[in-house]
């Protein structure tokens, strides 16, 4: 192909991009929303959504009421993890407290608690947890159980007055996110989420709009080719998506101290690959539906939901039922999420991550080939 053949094609592609940019600039409000939304989400997830327990409200039923039992409660609330919201006299009142959503858990200290400890006898302490909120119940149970375990070890240690140290001791080191900050965990996921929404939703909407209005037919009566339509339409959204990704990363790094341990270029490459897949996906939806309403629904079900639920953004893939784990392999968000976290937090290299890159590339190739095939068929 010589330059004379080539340059009109580039000119036509750029004409489409320019027109698309005009559309975007005509609707500045939508553009502003598309930039503000990710930041709002980031702040919400960064500050608001947290799986760490902080001042979890508890009920205490102290049937013993001795210095030893008071000491136990004091230790429990010492590090602000728990807060005593209700002091109850009767264990049966715990249910009422749960029903009124005043407390999330309860600790029942039995009669003769202090006496049993003195005698060196084993004592049962009852833990009750409001299980209606699964995640919270899980962490609460874990923390309370750990607390009781360590208290029991302390008491035993004091009783036997052993000078020797325990035989087994765990030395825990949390790699990559030592303080277990939610934001550090969320920012990479949010980058993927934002890119997925922008790419799929906007492209499927704008391309479907061209079908709906009959513009697509008009375009095909000009020398513009399908590839030029596709590229021309996608370029401005690729630019917007990249800007948004940068914005989310910048806020994540500036406000929430998200590190950038790995290679930014590798990250950019992964982002580009992911974006191409998402744009192709949006295009596929719009070619198949030719209708903005259906395209939006399709985008919501096939992108936004899997990105939130099946990518490891909120829930670890390893905890999912086997069938969902297999299903998650279809969606590129999963690979991208893994790559982002690995590069940002762990400094992983391409050698570490290549299978995930292949996953991204495979998805892009399949959707774009599918979109192109449908595109050609629908016209002829």
């Amino acid at each position: 192909m010589n330059l004379e053949n080539f340059s009109p094609s580039v000119r036509r592609t750029l004409a489409i991009s320019e027109k698309e940019t005009f559309h975007i600039l005509r609707d500045l409000r939508a553009l502003a929303v598309s930039f503000v939304l990710p930041i709002v989400l980031l702040v919400l997830f960064g500050y608001g959504v947290s799986f760490d327990l902080d001042k979890a409200p508890l009920a205490i039923v102290d049937l013993d009421n001795t210095p030893a039992s008071h000491n136990l409660v004091r230790n429990l609330t010492a590090n602000q993890e728990f807060l005593v919201e209700d002091w109850l006299k009767d264990p049966n009142d715990v249910v009422t407290s749960f029903r009124r959503s005043r407390t999330l858990g309860a600790l029942v200290i039995p009669r003769h608690f202090s006496a049993n400890i003195e005698k060196g006898k084993s004592t049962d302490i009852q833990l009750l947890v409001d299980g209606s909120s699964g995640t919270v119940a899980g962490s609460l149970l874990g923390s309370l159980a750990a607390f009781v375990q360590s208290e029991s070890e302390n008491i035993a240690y004091k009783k036997t007055l052993q000078k020797s140290r325990p035989l087994l001791k765990t030395e825990v080191t949390l790699q990559y996110n030592p303080a277990l900050q939610s934001a550090i965990f969320f920012v990479p996921g949010l980058v993927a989420f934002v890119l997925a929404i922008v790419a799929v939703l906007l492209t499927s909407l704008t391309v479907a709009k061209e079908w709906e209005r009959g513009n697509m037919e008009q375009l095909f009566a000009t020398p513009v080719t399908r590839l030029e339509v596709v590229l021309g339409k996608l370029l401005p959204y690729l630019a917007i998506g990249c800007l948004q990704a940068l914005l989310v990363l910048a806020v994540g790094m500036g406000v929430f101290d998200v590190p950038m341990v790995g290679n930014p270029l590798l990250l950019a490459f992964a982002t580009l690959l992911f974006m191409i897949g998402m744009l192709g996906h949006g295009l596929f939806l719009s070619v198949v539906t030719r209708n903005q309403m259906l395209a939006t629904l399709g985008a919501a079900f096939t992108t936004i939901l899997p990105t939130i639920l099946l990518s490891g953004f909120l829930y670890p893939i390893s905890n999912m039922p086997r069938i969902l784990q297999v299903l998650s392999l279809i969606f590129p968000a999963r690979y991208f999420m893994t790559i982002l976290r690995a590069i940002l937090l762990k400094g992983s290299t391409f050698q570490d991550l290549w299978p995930h890159f292949i996953g991204l590339a495979a998805f892009s190739i399949i959707v774009i080939a599918g979109a192109r095939a449908r595109f050609v068929r629908r016209i002829a």
């Binding site: 320019e18 027109k19 009959g214 513009n215 008009q218 000009t222 020398p223």
Partner: protein
């Protein structure tokens, strides 16, 4: 490529063109030619196959049979070569309503590969040609319907197409705007372009040099408006003013087959008779035997008459099959 436009004097040459959707023939065995520089009209009811034909001619739809040569090029084989030489204005709004007039033109100019100074000059000249210069910054959706159609026409004229395909361009536009629109097209035709216009406004078809009429996927008749009238509705037309229309109609229809038809027309009647059956005096005399105040005047055939007659014939033959 063996496309030499000089070899073929016809702008459009269609033979045995067919398009099937499943078992349904949208277009069936259509044959016609359009000469270079001709203003050609394509008539037909909704669903008769006009748009399907035009879409095949523009390379937007592949024919299931037959060939269409546009500007000497086989559209099915080389649609892109055709697209560069034609302008197409579709039935649907082919504009971006959220963009100003100027940006719409700018985009389509780019889509035809124009750029730089050429593009800017071209936009200015199109704005001038379509009378839109004062509206160049107006958001397209804020223009009245007739003006929006001019923008769409402008879009299809940007690359100086040899052949203009206009698919019901004036649907829903007021008569004055329609006339102005057609004048812009006529001006292009005077400069050498060929125009292929589908319409269901029969007054528009009167401007066309030749008219083809489609019914249920077939091209049922073709010719100049005058030819079509003498072919399908021969005879004399009379306009009668009378208060006793019912009675006179009955008397006239008794004279069939010398009288072809008598239809209500205002308060009176419009009558078609065998050529020379009446002259002004004899008809007046005839009328006065029923209504002393009746007046008659010579009328003329319209494409409406052709359309109704042809479509009725087509329905009858279809019913016989």
């Amino acid at each position: 490529m063996s496309e030499n436009p000089m070899q073929n004097e016809n702008a459009i040459h269609v033979s045995n063109l067919e398009r099937k959707f499943g078992d349904f023939f949208a277009v069936r065995d259509v044959n016609f030619e359009v000469r270079r520089g001709e203003f050609f009209g394509y008539l037909g009811a909704n669903g008769a196959g006009k748009s399907t034909t035009i879409r095949m001619l523009c390379g937007l739809l592949a024919p299931t049979n037959g060939t269409a040569l546009v500007a000497g090029i086989d559209v099915a084989k080389n649609p892109n070569a055709v697209k560069r030489r034609i302008g197409y204005m579709s039935q649907k709004f082919s504009l971006y309503p959220d963009l100003p007039v100027e940006e719409n033109l700018r985009f389509f100019a780019g889509a035809y590969g124009l750029s730089g100074k050429t593009l800017l000059h071209k936009i200015d000249s199109i704005l001038d040609e379509t009378g839109l210069t004062n509206h160049r910054k107006t958001i397209t959706s804020e223009l009245a319907g007739g003006w929006q159609q001019r923008v769409a026409l402008g879009n299809s004229l940007l690359h100086n197409p040899e052949i203009l395909f206009l698919d019901e361009p004036t649907a829903g536009v007021d008569p004055a705007s329609r006339r102005e629109f057609i004048d812009i097209v006529k001006h292009r035709v005077q400069q050498g372009a060929t125009a292929f216009l589908t319409t269901h406004y029969l007054d528009e078809a009167e401007f066309c040099e030749r008219v083809g009429l489609m019914a249920s996927g077939r091209l049922v008749t073709l010719g100049s408006p005058q030819e079509l009238k003498s072919r399908h509705v021969p005879g004399d037309f009379w306009i009668l003013q009378t208060n006793r229309a019912q009675q006179i109609k009955k008397q006239l229809l008794n004279m069939r087959p010398s009288v072809f038809s008598a239809h209500p027309y205002g308060k009176g009647l419009r009558v078609r008779t065998v050529s020379g059956l009446f002259d002004h005096n004899s008809l007046t005399h005839f009328l006065h035997s029923f209504d002393a105040n009746a007046i008659c005047a010579k009328g003329s055939a319209s494409l409406d008459d052709v359309f109704h007659t042809v479509v009725k014939e087509d329905d009858n033959t279809a019913g016989e099959k």
